[in-house]
């Protein structure tokens, strides 16, 4: 019987008992629960990573103008900016994550990881870590399996959907998948991988989903960039052996609790936060379809 990814504690215990690397029980889970062969899984992961890499490339080369006009070639502008505020690598990370998410907003091809709204984070993180540390595709695919295991546990004990748990559930989960994958790919032990996830959740907790005009553009695109940065800061903290104090499973429980308590207007409804600002409302008026029929009251329909 494969591990069912009910929590991080049992995942860690399994690997300690068997000596398996973290990705191995994720692979076994998919084979046993979903009937896929190992070959199919590696091929599927390679395809996903290829699409992520293409999205990073497309974001930095294609015309990234959204129909609303709110997204307008941001990644290319950042890459071309003469000012480097931190380091060239940081600038690259930001352009990659933001660019891949712009591809999503502009009807390009992406991998929902875990969701479409968070689809820039893993591409930005993984392409950057591979580039910086000269990792093989195989190492990145193992990192993707670890990321999938992290997401399975969050899905079960909290949520991955903005409409259920707010932005923390989408970009927060993606950042946690990213930070865990970074530490895994750099050879960090299991407890440091889980510490990275815990730190990321601590950083992303409470983030509301308040998309302007209901579109997956503002603030989703900039949040994908900042979530990628938080994945790196969390990994840097965790790989130094810093104790996150609150164990990872309890951080996930907090993510679920905060998501449940969040008001509906902060859950993808475009009724609160940035969506409810004066400018947000003006933009909403401009982009929404105005020619809408309203049915007369029909007693038979009620």
């Amino acid at each position: 019987m494969s591990l069912l990814f009910n929590d991080f504690a049992s995942w860690g215990e399994h690997c300690a008992a068997t000596g398996e690397p973290l990705y191995q029980p994720v692979l076994a889970y998919e084979i046993e629960q979903k009937g896929r062969t190992e070959d199919e899984i590696w091929t599927g992961l390679q395809r996903a990573y290829d699409v992520m890499r293409d999205a990073v490339h497309e974001g930095l080369t294609g015309d990234m103008t959204s129909r609303s006009g709110m997204i307008n070639n941001g990644a290319k502008k950042i890459a071309a900016s003469p000012v480097t505020v931190l380091s060239p690598e940081f600038k690259q990370l930001i352009t990659r994550a933001l660019g891949a998410k712009e591809v999503n907003s502009c009807m390009g091809r992406v991998v929902a990881a875990p969701t479409a709204g968070a689809s820039g984070i893993l591409p930005g993180v993984l392409v950057t870590i591979q580039d910086l540390h000269k990792l093989s595709d195989r190492q990145i695919l193992e990192g993707l399996l670890v990321a999938a295991g992290i997401a399975l546990i969050i899905e079960q004990n909290a949520s991955l959907a903005g409409a259920v748990g707010g932005c923390q559930a989408e970009t927060g989960s993606a950042a946690a998948m990213g930070s865990g994958a970074i530490v895994y790919c750099l050879g960090g032990p299991v407890e440091q991988v889980f510490a990275a996830v815990a730190v990321t959740i601590q950083c992303m907790l409470g983030l509301v989903c308040d998309p302007v005009a209901g579109l997956v553009e503002v603030p989703c695109v900039v949040r994908n960039a900042s979530a990628a940065a938080i994945a790196f800061s969390s990994a840097q903290i965790a790989i130094a052996g810093i104790d996150p104090v609150i164990p990872v499973d309890q951080c996930v429980a907090a993510l679920g609790e905060v998501g449940q308590a969040m008001e509906t207007r902060y859950k993808e409804t475009a009724l609160g936060g940035l969506a409810a600002t004066k400018r947000g409302k003006e933009i909403e008026k401009m982009v929404l379809v105005q020619d809408v029929n309203i049915l007369p009251d029909d007693p038979d329909e009620a």
């Binding site: 629960q33 009807m107 390009g108 479409a116 399975l152 929404l288 329909e301």
Partner: protein, 226 residues
Amino acid sequence: MAEKSSIFDMIGPVMIGPSSSHTAGVVRIARAAIRILGSIPTEAVVTFYNSFARTYEGHGSDRAIVAGLLGYAPDDTRIRTAFDHAADAGLKYTFQSVGNASTMHPNTIKLNLYDDRTGHRVEVVGQSRGGGVIRIVEVDGFPSDFSGALHTLIIDANDVPGSIAFIASVIAHDQCNIATMFVSRKGRNDAARQFIEMDSPIKDITLAYLRQLSWVQRITYIPTLD
């Protein structure tokens, strides 16, 4: 307890943005509808309801539905430019919005499709339920309930006693497991329509046998959708 997710739900699906319910699910509703029609239509009237009514342009659901009507998969990069391809394919389409259909799911689309080459016409109502998951809830005025994730049979037959049991038994002899079955009829002893979802594909010879039964008018077979 709900079925366990796949790792490819966590790292996936591969799709065209921006949103699984507004693009991927919408493409799939149209893909189901053209299979019911039997061809790519020449004319389509698309009605967006409720939540979709105001947001369909901003989310690109209009391009997604046209792309699905052209048979494109949810990860096809031509979705973005679907309007241009529709002109080439001879598909004419119009959009309309209804904002307050309170009895319907928030993300509902109605498709009225016509193919002037075959003379076939169909009306399909579908819901986009998040994550690209869809449900077809009405076909030509008959209530229905199928997702396109399995293999679906739509059988128009006279409402004769024993017809449901007979069809179920024929399908069972093909080693097909019936996952769901939904029967609706206009009235007693009137035309009835059966929607049958099966875990595996049905053999051509079984379909041919069912089609020649005297009390069966028409069978549409929809293999699992992308």
